[in-house]
């Protein structure tokens, strides 16, 4: 189905964690107008909030225990509802992981922009985290490859020969070089483990 400019907002689910108050009425109205399903909750987010597409939360009287996840670890975009621009409250709102913000009293302006900005910030943060995890993975894989090469070097091969053996092993096993290296290192350590005196520390 082709969606036009909806940014998948149609029938998205938003939880608004705020005590009932006139300051957020315009927000509730505007979210409905935009096409979201809105649930107002207080004093804490229920467990099913984990399925929400957006969380709006009160920065003025909120605290960590209201959320069913650790600070900064929300599985969806979070938008802080800020009344008091005091540094302490702002620090808390940021620690919780604000991807966007709206000032109170909320009006019919800025809600659509806040949704799109928060979604974009959340997606960007998530992509960065995935990239970092991937790089860390590859970094540790590279260390394993060096360890595997060292096994053959200690057995008298040149470094070039060691790389060639590793490459041929990977081909024979039909796995990546990183996977072959991991297996070779594991085998090597298993052989050495029973006799600690003969163990060659290659790490």
């Amino acid at each position: 189905m082709t969606r036009i400019r909806t940014e998948n907002l149609g029938e998205a689910l938003a939880f608004v964690l705020h005590r009932p108050h006139p300051a957020i009425q315009a927000l509730i109205r505007q979210l409905s107008v935009i096409g979201l399903e809105v649930r107002e909750v207080w004093p804490e987010l229920p467990a099913e909030a984990i399925s929400a597409d957006f969380i709006f939360y009160d920065a003025d009287s909120g605290h960590d225990a209201q959320f069913p996840w650790a600070a900064g670890a929300s599985p969806m975009p979070m938008i802080a509802l800020i009344g008091s621009e005091a540094p302490g409250r702002l620090a808390w709102a940021l620690t919780m992981g604000a991807h966007g913000q709206l000032l109170k009293p909320a009006t019919d302006k800025g809600v659509y922009a806040a949704l799109l900005v928060a979604r974009a910030n959340f997606d960007r943060a998530r992509a960065s985290e995935a990239q970092i995890a991937d790089l860390e993975d590859r970094l540790s894989a590279r260390q394993t490859v060096v360890q595997a090469v060292m096994i053959f070097v200690l057995r008298g091969k040149s470094e070039a020969e060691a790389y060639e053996i590793l490459r041929q092993t990977a081909m024979a096993w039909r796995v990546t070089i990183e996977t072959a290296a991991r297996q070779l290192v594991a085998n090597h350590n298993a052989e050495r483990a029973p006799d600690e005196r003969r163990r060659t520390d290659i790490s």
């Binding site: 082709t2 400019r5 909806t6 149609g10 109205r29 935009i34 096409g35 659509y112």
Partner: protein, 360 residues
């Protein structure tokens, strides 16, 4: 004895899109005359007019002037989306309400604006859904260089590519600019299946004349679509608008004997005056209520409303019509549909799914 309700009229009498604002003024004044003469209403409107002269910087100050210096709260005003956005802060500050009778690009829902014409699920999307299978999948987009032109092009691009079509060009002219040689040359080279014209005022009329010249010289069909071209602009193009296909909630009936050339802007302006009269009729003191309160009262009383009480956009039929012999003739008509200003698909089947996919 009718009670008197003061209203504001913020429409330009001169300037590069005055052809549009004058016809909106005429529609408002006709609606006012009808309401004032009708025994069906217990009220009469008294109009306070201000002339922004099609100058963007004059709208907000004149809106403020109406709200502060006259008893009027309801203002029938604005043509361009930028002027509408400019006056909203004044409406908020001075408790005013704007009645806006033109098609616009959506993505707005102020609590202080009654959107009385149509938004893209009521004009652009049904127009493209008709055009792509009928004319072909290769479109060329041209518009005035401001929010209406940009957003219409953006939505059109998504719809056209979503239907498997191709956007061959995407060009803008400054409002009032009539120099389009480079665009005509590009269209001549590209030969698109259709051109979506979102130019306003003189730019549009000049472009249509130059395009008619290209058609005569090259023999290419080059059909033009528009969501903002109405009856009042046909004569300004001197015959060059022949064949143009437009979408809107209303076109001048072809059996209409008189040649009034009012078009949907005047008609929606006239109906907006009637809508306000119906909301205020029989409710002394309702002049101070918000749009939300007025629509809720009407809803509770079982009154038929054009405005949706959620987002204050009018429910409208969709008519697609083509200019033949200097008049619009209906090509296709969809029943009235609710506005979907954020295109989040309340009428999913109607608004979001293109009727067929072009595979060529």
């Amino acid at each position: 004895m009718k009670r008197v309700i003061d209203i504001g009229l913020l429409q330009s009498q001169s300037g590069h899109y005055a052809a549009l604002s004058r016809v909106v003024s005429a529609g408002v004044l006709q609606g006012v005359a009808e309401v004032n003469a009708s025994p069906a209403f217990d009220l009469a409107f008294n109009v306070h007019a201000r002339d922004p002269e099609c100058r963007a910087e004059r709208y907000a100050p004149l809106c403020r002037q109406i709200l502060r210096e006259t008893p009027a709260r309801h203002i029938f005003g604005c043509v361009t989306s930028s002027s509408r956005k400019d006056v909203i802060p004044e409406l908020e500050r001075h408790d005013g309400i704007l009645w806006y009778p033109l098609p616009y690009e959506g993505f707005e829902a102020s609590e202080r604006v009654a959107y009385m014409h149509s938004c893209p699920n009521q004009h652009l999307l049904p127009l493209l859904d008709w055009a792509i299978p009928t004319l072909g999948p290769r479109g060329y987009l041209i518009g005035s260089n401001y929010i209406w032109g940009w957003e219409i092009a953006q939505i059109a691009r998504e719809r056209i590519t979503g239907a498997g079509g191709l956007v061959m060009g995407d060009r803008y002219l400054a409002t009032g600019d009539t120099e389009a040689d480079h665009i005509i040359a590009e269209i001549e080279a590209l030969r698109p299946d259709f051109i979506l014209n979102s130019l306003i005022g003189d730019s549009s009329y000049s472009f249509m004349r130059q395009l008619a010249g290209l058609r005569a010289q090259s023999g290419a069909a080059l059909p033009v679509l528009s969501c903002n071209f109405t009856e009042v602009e046909i004569d300004s193009c001197g015959g060059a608008a022949e064949g143009l296909v437009s979408a809107g909630p209303w076109f001048e009936p072809t059996d209409d004997q008189g040649d009034r050339r009012r078009g949907s802007l005047a008609e929606m302006a006239r109906l907006a005056v009637h809508e306000l009269a119906q909301l205020l009729h029989g409710r002394p003191g309702a002049g101070d209520l918000s749009l939300a309160e007025l629509t809720q009262l009407a809803l509770a009383a079982g009154q038929p409303l054009r405005l949706d009480p959620t987002h204050f956009h009018a429910r409208q039929p969709v008519v697609i019509a083509q200019i033949q012999g200097g008049r619009f003739h209906e090509v296709l008509r969809h029943p009235p549909r609710t506005a979907d200003p954020y295109l989040t698909g309340r009428e999913r089947g109607l608004t979001l799914r293109p009727p067929l996919r072009v595979v060529s």
